[in-house]
Every structure is written in structure tokens, then in C-alpha cells.
Symmetry: C2
Subunit: 232 residues, 2 copies
DNA sequence: CCGCAGGTTTAGCCGCGTCTCAATTTGAGA
DNA sequence: TCTCAAATTGAGACGCGGCTAAACCTGCGG
């Protein structure tokens, strides 16, 4: 007989974790999770995704009527949060401690988070001072599965006059992060919405202190991945 | 078509690296590498080892006539040294930076070294100050495949009167390392062979400065895994 | 010098996670 | 209601890295 889950410290197979994490992320972004969308997300054929949905249903990690949408069960959510915690702590570690760049961190964090034990993750967590957000501003679930409720708002949904601080850059796209770096925009910066140009035009924002900050035009795609925590 | 070596950054399959590393280690210890001994080393059935030997021969990583012994080719040695470098640097990192214990480091280093990229390994190497030996005293191959020639001698082979410094503990057995720790014996310590008791008796050694050091009796099994660099 | 035990290889299988290609279901428009 | 394209599922395969069982060398002891 083949020994099950031999090296992984009693963790589910990697593919299971990958799919559960993807489903969690898609739900978080408000996307509907179907065979096709999930397959696209993971760059896998629909039949692979279909087979995994069946498997996840059998394991009671999702609810899924055939030909319909999938939702994580409570168990599924808990698993997703464990996976996400590992991933975000490792991202933090690579960037803070090993000076990784935005473009290097994705791949490495993906691979390492598959191999790293809970022990490793908890050690680097201590070493980083038990952070609550990763370098993208993504919240880090606690080891007992609590996710700090952020109460933040997408820049793209705000009206002129809104003022807040940048707390999160969604999706971690290296190009976006690089772009922000180049313009000196970082997490924690004060951002003021000056105006919304119509017809898909940019959002004009001031980054920095009330009168001094630089003014930037932010297109809809960028505005859709930046979250602010509003003042007051 | 199935994409080959997708996530691993152009590395050979893990099993190939595992076997090559095992063959290197066995040769280093003077063991002959046959289907059976290799299978025992890797806790695998002889038929698995046999299949892999064929595969390694086809890849020209070993020389192997059927029913005979296997030897690494130059290419095989180079691969082994790359694998060993990764492994020893990660061990060093876990112990020095993340305060891993002797009993925890084996498993974690094994898993992480499979996933870690060259970039990761080179980053931690810098961070550790380009070490030449790992915490067991095992030499770390350089990134261009040179192995610092140690010129050390197994304690078990020395005669009374020999004096040297402990530079290596072979095999990294946690029990041995724990035992040494408890007695305050560590890498770099001065060791003087006082006498060899006959009939499989212990080696009497002084650990520490000429007259002050504590005297220990070292059995043959322990003497077989400790290497000294001799004075002069 | 012959036979046989034991080491070695081969044959056939499994589970994983992927693929391709075919069959099936669905629901929206005619 | 019927039809049909698109979404979904299913069937069959593959490479990996194991396993078991059987066939096959080989060299040592009689
Ligand atoms: Mn993952
Ligand atoms: Mn992140
Ligand atoms: Mn290895
Ligand atoms: Mn070591």
C-alpha cells in the first residue's frame, strides 16, 4: 500500500489546497466559481477543474450541484485560511528578510508555501513580529483562523472628497506594484479623491499631505485593485 | 502535452536529485552502490531503485552495468554537489536564523530544499556570510561546484597522542548531536586522544585545553562519525 | 561443473494530477 | 416547444514515483 500524505505533515494533497485557495480568492473578488472560471483561474482544462470539484464535494470542502456554482463549506473556508496564512507569511518573509522584489516573490512563495511546515511558518511569523498584513496589504489570517476584518473600500468605488490611507493592493500583480513603487506610492500613504472624470476617464487623486501631495490620474483598472481605509 | 519540469525552474525531477545525492553520500562513506544498498538507503524497494538506476544511466548521470555497481559520472557529481549545496545552506539557515533544533532540521531541510529556487539559496547564502561548512561541519560546495577539501581524519582512525579540532559530525543523527550538546562538545573544540582501549573498548579523549579539559570515553560508533582536523 | 539461493531486473499495477477528445446536459433564442 | 451552442462531465491516456510478484542472472558451495 502506498503511504498517504507521507511527507506533508498530514496536509491534504497540494492540488486540493491550491483549488480551495483559488475558490476562496474568487469568491472574495465576487466572481462566481464554476468549472470554467475556476479552470481559467488555475490555467487548467475544464475537465481537470470538473474532476477536482467532484473531489472537493466528496471531501465536503465545497457545496456544488453539477452544472452549477461552487461555494466553500465552513471546513473549506478554514482550510483556505490556513493555506493563505502560510502563503502570506512566506511572502512577507521573502520581501522583508530576504529582500525579494515584487516580480520574484510570487513564484517563490508559491513553491515554498507548499513545502513549508507549520513550524517553519510559525517561526518566521514570530521573527516578523506577528504581522497582521503582508507587504501587499493583504490581511494575514491568525493561526486560529481569524481574519482581521479590514473595513476598507476599493478606490474605484469612492466619490470625490473621500480621504483615506492605502491599505491594500489586490492580486499582487508585479507590474502594478512596480508602477506604484516608481511613483513613490506605498501602503499607508494618504490618498484624497479629487474628482471622477466621466466616460471611463481617470480618477484624479492627491497622494500625500493635503496641499503638498502629488496629483495622479488613476485609470479604472488600477482603481479596481487599490483599497483605502477611510479617514474617520 | 504535459509541460515538463514546470514549476521547478528547469531542475531534474525530485527523485533523480534524491537518488543522485544518496549515491554521492554512499560513495563518500565508502559504501558500494548496488540496487539493494541504494534501496535500503532510500527506504524503497529494490525494484524501485533498479528502475531509477536505469533511468540515471540513460541520463548519463551514472555508469552502471546491469547486476553491477553504480558510479556517478562527472555530470552526476556536479548535480549531486548542487543538490548538497542547497541542502546544507538551508540546514544552516534553519539552525542559525530560525533557531531550529537538531531533531527538527532534517525533515524541514529535506522538504524546503526540494522547493527552494537557486535565488532563494543564494540569498540565504549571502545572509549567512557565505559559510563554508554547515552546522554539522559538513562542507558546503561553492556555487560553481567546488568542494573545499577538508583533509580531516575520523576520530576512530587516530592513535593515542593525536591532537586536533572537531570539524565534522557525520550523518547528522539528531541523537548524536544531542548527546554532544549535552556534554558541551561542539564543532571547533580541541580534542586530544589519550588512549585506545583494546577489545572494542572506548577511545579516551580530552576535550578542551591541555590539562583542564574534561576526559570522555568515546565508543567505536561515535568515533566513526567524528572528524578532526589535526594540529599541524 | 552444476545447481541453486539471493541479488537484480522486468512486468504489471496504483494514485496523483494533468491532458485530449468525446458524450452529455443545459438553457436561451427561434 | 424545439434546437443547438456552450458549459460540463466522462473516458482514456500519460508521466511520475512508488509497489508486488515473477522472471532472470550470477557466482558460490557442493
Ligand atoms: Mn498554494
Ligand atoms: Mn500578498
Ligand atoms: Mn533532497
Ligand atoms: Mn548537514
Amino acid at each position: 500500500m502506498q503511504e498517504r500524505a507521507k511527507e506533508s505533515g498530514g496536509r491534504p494533497p497540494q492540488a486540493v489546497e491550491d483549488y480551495v485557495k483559488a475558490i476562496y480568492g474568487m469568491s472574495e473578488r465576487g466572481l462566481s466559481v464554476t468549472t470554467t472560471t475556476l479552470a481559467a483561474e488555475l490555467r487548467v482544462t475544464p475537465s481537470s477543474a470538473s474532476a477536482m470539484l467532484t473531489r472537493l464535494r466528496d471531501a465536503e470542502l465545497i457545496v456544488h450541484r453539477p452544472y452549477s456554482q461552487a461555494t466553500l463549506t465552513d471546513t473549506g473556508v478554514r482550510l483556505a485560511l490556513r493555506v493563505i496564512r502560510r502563503r502570506r507569511l512566506i511572502e512577507s518573509f521573502l520581501i522583508e528578510t530576504l529582500a525579494y522584489g515584487w516580480d520574484e516573490v510570487e513564484r517563490e512563495a508559491e513553491l515554498l508555501s507548499r513545502a513549508a511546515s507549520e513550524l517553519f511558518v510559525e517561526r518566521i511569523c514570530e521573527r516578523l513580529g506577528n504581522p497582521v498584513r503582508d507587504p501587499h496589504g493583504d490581511p494575514i489570517p491568525s493561526s486560529d483562523g481569524e481574519l482581521p476584518a479590514p473595513g476598507s473600500h476599493l478606490l474605484g468605488t469612492l466619490e470625490a472628497g473621500a480621504i483615506g490611507r492605502l491599505v491594500r493592493v489586490w492580486n499582487g500583480d508585479p507590474e502594478v506594484l512596480q508602477y506604484l513603487d516608481e511613483r513613490g506610492i506605498g501602503l499607508g500613504d494618504r490618498i484624497e479623491v479629487l474628482s471622477r472624470e466621466p466616460f471611463g476617464g481617470p480618477l484624479m487623486v492627491r497622494v500625500g499631505e493635503p496641499k503638498e501631495g502629488r496629483v495622479h490620474g488613476v485609470g479604472p483598472e488600477l482603481a479596481a485593485v487599490l483599497s483605502l481605509e477611510l479617514e474617520q
